[in-house]
C-alpha cells in the first residue's frame, strides 16, 4: 500500500523556509522571483524572445548555486539539460569566475574555491531530439540519487524537443506527465527547477498576440512564470512576473554584463 503523507501547513512552512533561495545577483530580479531569488521546491518558467537573456540567466543561476554556506548560499551543484545547444562553456567560466571573485571580496578570510573543483559542480547533459530528452528525464530520479547535492535543474529549453514529430494533444499529455514526475522530485528533495520557453504568435487574442509557446493549458503548469524582454538600452533587460503562487505581479530591471546578471546602477 502506498503511504500518503498528509502535512499540516505549519510543517510545510518550516520546510519551505528552512533552505535559502538561489540569488540571481540582481536584487531587482530576486524580488520578481520571490524574496531572495529562486525558491527551492518550485518550478519556474522563464519566457522571452531570442536574445532576452534566458540562457544568461540560467548560467548565472548555475554559478549562484555554488555560493558558500558562510555567505548564506547553498554550496550545491547544478544540472544543465541543454536541448538546443545554447550552452557555451567559456561563457559559463566567465560568469562563474566573476561570481566566485565577488564572493571572495565579501569574505575577510579567503576560502578555498578551486576553479577546477567548482567546474566539477556543473553537470551538463545535451539531449538532441525528443527520445533522448524523454529517456534522460526518465532516468532523472536515479541521477538525483547518485548526486544528492544537486539542488538546481535547468532545462534550456523545454520547447525545443517538442518542435516536431508529436501531435499537440500528445505533447500536452507527455509534458504534464513529465512535469508531474519532476514536481514530485522538487518537493521530495527540495530542489529548484528552471525551464526556459520560447514565445509564439497567436493572432486575434485580446491580450496581445505574442504569447508563451506550448499553449494555454501549459501556462497553468509552472508555479511561476517570468517574461524577460529588452529595454531601451541594449544591455538592460526587464522582467515581468506573469503568474505566481505567492507574490503579486511585479516588474524588475537588470542588465546582462560581462560578469553575468547584475543590477542596473
Amino acid at each position: 500500500m502506498k503511504r500518503f503523507n498528509i502535512f499540516n501547513s505549519t510543517e510545510l512552512w518550516q520546510r519551505q523556509t528552512s533552505l535559502p533561495s538561489i540569488p540571481t545577483f540582481s536584487r531587482s530580479l530576486d524580488n520578481v522571483f520571490g524574496n531572495e531569488g529562486i525558491q527551492l521546491g518550485s518550478i519556474t518558467e522563464v519566457l522571452g524572445l531570442p536574445g532576452s537573456g534566458k540562457t544568461q540567466l540560467c548560467l548565472q543561476l548555475c554559478a549562484s548555486i555554488q555560493i558558500p554556506k558562510v555567505l548564506g548560499g547553498l554550496n550545491a551543484e547544478a544540472l544543465f539539460i541543454d536541448t538546443n545547444t545554447n550552452f557555451t562553456v567559456s561563457r559559463f567560466i566567465e560568469i562563474l569566475n566573476a561570481s566566485l571573485t565577488k564572493c571572495q571580496m565579501l569574505l575577510d578570510t579567503p576560502i578555498d574555491i578551486g576553479k577546477d573543483s567548482s567546474l566539477e559542480k556543473l553537470h551538463y547533459v545535451k539531449t538532441i531530439g525528443l527520445e533522448k530528452f524523454c529517456a534522460f528525464l526518465y532516468r532523472l530520479p536515479k541521477f538525483m540519487e547518485e548526486h544528492p547535492n544537486v539542488k538546481l535543474i535547468i532545462i534550456d529549453s523545454i520547447t525545443f524537443p517538442f518542435k516536431e514529430g508529436i501531435s499537440a494533444k500528445q505533447r500536452t499529455g507527455l509534458l504534464f506527465r513529465q512535469m508531474a514526475d519532476l514536481q514530485r522530485l522538487t518537493i521530495d528533495k527540495q530542489i529548484a527547477v528552471v525551464l526556459t520557453n520560447e514565445m509564439s504568435t497567436r493572432i486575434g487574442l485580446s491580450t496581445g498576440s505574442v504569447v508563451g509557446a506550448l499553449g494555454d493549458a501549459w501556462s497553468h503548469r509552472c508555479n511561476k512564470r517570468v517574461l524577460l524582454s529588452t529595454d531601451t538600452s541594449p544591455s538592460n533587460r526587464l522582467a515581468l512576473l506573469l503568474k505566481s503562487n505567492d507574490s503579486p505581479n511585479t516588474v524588475g530591471r537588470f542588465q546582462v554584463t560581462q560578469e553575468g546578471i547584475r543590477d542596473i546602477e
Partner: protein, 336 residues
C-alpha cells in the same frame, strides 16, 4: 465487490459458504450471477431459500428510497453552506459553497484561482474548529503565502500556528494516486478529523497527463473520481472544490469577412472564445461553477500592488439567479 459473509443470514452457514467459495462464488455479485438451480445444488438449500437470499441482497444493497419530508429534515439538520468569509462572494453564492456537492472554480492562468483557494481555506478554518484538506497536484500550495496573508491580517504567531495547523496538505501527482487516496478516505483507513472542505488544485493537471492517449483511460479515472468525490461529499458532509482551467480559442468570423470586410475593424474579425477544460462529461458534474476573470485595468495596475478579479456564477443547482457577479481584490492582505 463485497463478500457474501457481510449478509449474516442464518441459512448461509460456514459450511455452505465454504462449498460456495470452492465453486468460486465468494462475492455478492458472483451469487447473483449464478443460476438458481445450480446454487441450490451447491448449497443443498431448496430453491425458495435461495430466492429469499437473493431478495435479501437486493433489498439490502439496492438504492434506498426516501421521501420529500425526510430529505427536508436531513437538509435542515446538516449545515448546508460553507461560509467563504468573503462578503461579496457569499452574497452572490447565497451564503457560501454548498456542502455535499462538487463546486468548480475555473479561470485562465493568473486569474487568482490558487489565491482564492488559499484564502477560502484560511477563512474556513478561522471561523470554526474544522479542518480543510488541500490536495495539491502541482506544488502550488505556498505555506509562505499563507503565513504572509495571516501576518498582513495582524495575527499573532500563536494564532497563525493554530490556523495553519488546521490546513492539511497532501501532494498527489497522478490520477491513480488521487483515486487511491479517495478510496482510503472512503474506507476510513485515512481519516482527517472534523473535515469541512476538500480543495483539489488542480484537476486538469492530473487529467492532462492522459491527453493524447487513445485508450480513453483518463475518462474512466475521471468517472471513478467523481463517484468517490460524490460519496465523500454526502457521507462526510463536506464541500469539494475542484479547480479547473480555461483555454482560449480564436475563431475567424467568416461571415464578416465576406460582407463588410472594409467597414469593420480588423480586430473584430477574430472572435476569442474561452472554454472550460476537462471535456463534456465533466461540464455536467459540478453543482456550482464559478468563473474568475482578471480585470485588466490600465489605470491603476502599477501604482498599487492589487489586482481585481471578476467573479461570476456560471452554473448552479440551487441559486435562482445566476450570472451574478462580484469583484474581488487580490493583494498582500489576501483576497477580499
Amino acid at each position: 465487490m463485497q463478500a457474501l459473509e457481510v449478509l449474516k443470514i442464518s441459512s448461509l452457514s460456514e459450511t455452505v459458504l465454504k462449498s460456495l467459495s470452492q465453486n468460486r462464488i465468494s462475492t455478492l455479485f458472483d451469487f447473483l450471477d449464478e443460476e438458481i438451480t445450480k446454487l441450490s445444488a451447491i448449497t443443498k438449500l431448496d430453491i425458495s431459500q435461495v430466492l429469499a437470499i437473493r431478495n435479501e441482497i437486493f433489498a439490502k444493497f439496492s438504492a434506498p428510497l426516501a421521501n420529500g419530508s425526510s430529505l427536508l429534515v436531513k437538509s435542515i439538520i446538516h449545515k448546508n453552506k460553507l461560509n467563504t468569509g468573503i462578503q461579496s462572494l457569499d452574497t452572490i453564492l447565497d451564503g457560501g459553497f454548498p456542502t455535499g456537492y462538487i463546486t468548480e472554480i475555473c479561470g485562465l492562468a493568473d486569474s487568482g484561482k490558487t489565491q482564492l483557494c488559499l484564502q477560502i481555506s484560511i477563512n474556513c478554518v478561522k471561523q470554526s474548529d474544522s479542518n480543510v484538506l488541500y490536495v495539491d497536484t502541482k506544488g502550488d500550495f505556498s505555506a509562505i503565502r499563507i503565513q504572509k496573508m495571516l501576518d498582513a491580517y495582524g495575527c499573532s504567531p500563536k494564532e497563525m500556528a493554530l490556523i495553519m495547523f488546521k490546513i492539511k496538505v497532501v501532494h498527489i501527482w497522478t490520477m491513480e494516486e488521487l483515486i487511491d487516496f479517495f478510496k482510503h478516505l472512503k474506507k476510513e483507513t485515512i481519516a482527517v478529523e472534523k473535515l469541512s472542505m476538500i480543495i483539489i488544485d488542480s484537476l486538469p493537471c492530473l487529467m492532462f497527463q492522459h491527453l493524447g492517449d487513445d485508450s480513453k483511460i483518463g475518462l474512466t479515472f475521471l468517472n471513478t473520481f467523481v463517484n468517490y468525490a460524490r460519496y465523500l461529499c454526502k457521507e462526510l458532509n463536506v464541500g469539494v472544490i475542484c479547480v479547473n482551467i480555461q483555454t482560449r480559442w480564436v475563431d475567424m468570423d467568416a461571415a464578416d469577412l465576406d460582407d463588410e470586410a472594409d467597414t469593420t475593424d480588423r480586430e473584430h474579425l477574430y472572435i476569442e472564445k474561452k472554454s472550460r477544460c476537462l471535456g463534456k462529461y465533466w461540464s455536467h458534474i459540478p453543482a456550482l461553477v464559478i468563473k474568475l476573470d482578471k480585470v485588466h485595468d490600465s489605470n491603476s495596475s502599477d501604482t498599487e500592488q492589487c489586482s481585481k478579479v471578476d467573479v461570476m456564477v456560471v452554473k448552479s443547482n440551487s441559486l435562482t439567479n445566476f450570472n451574478l457577479k462580484c469583484i474581488l481584490n487580490i493583494c498582500d492582505l489576501g483576497v477580499t
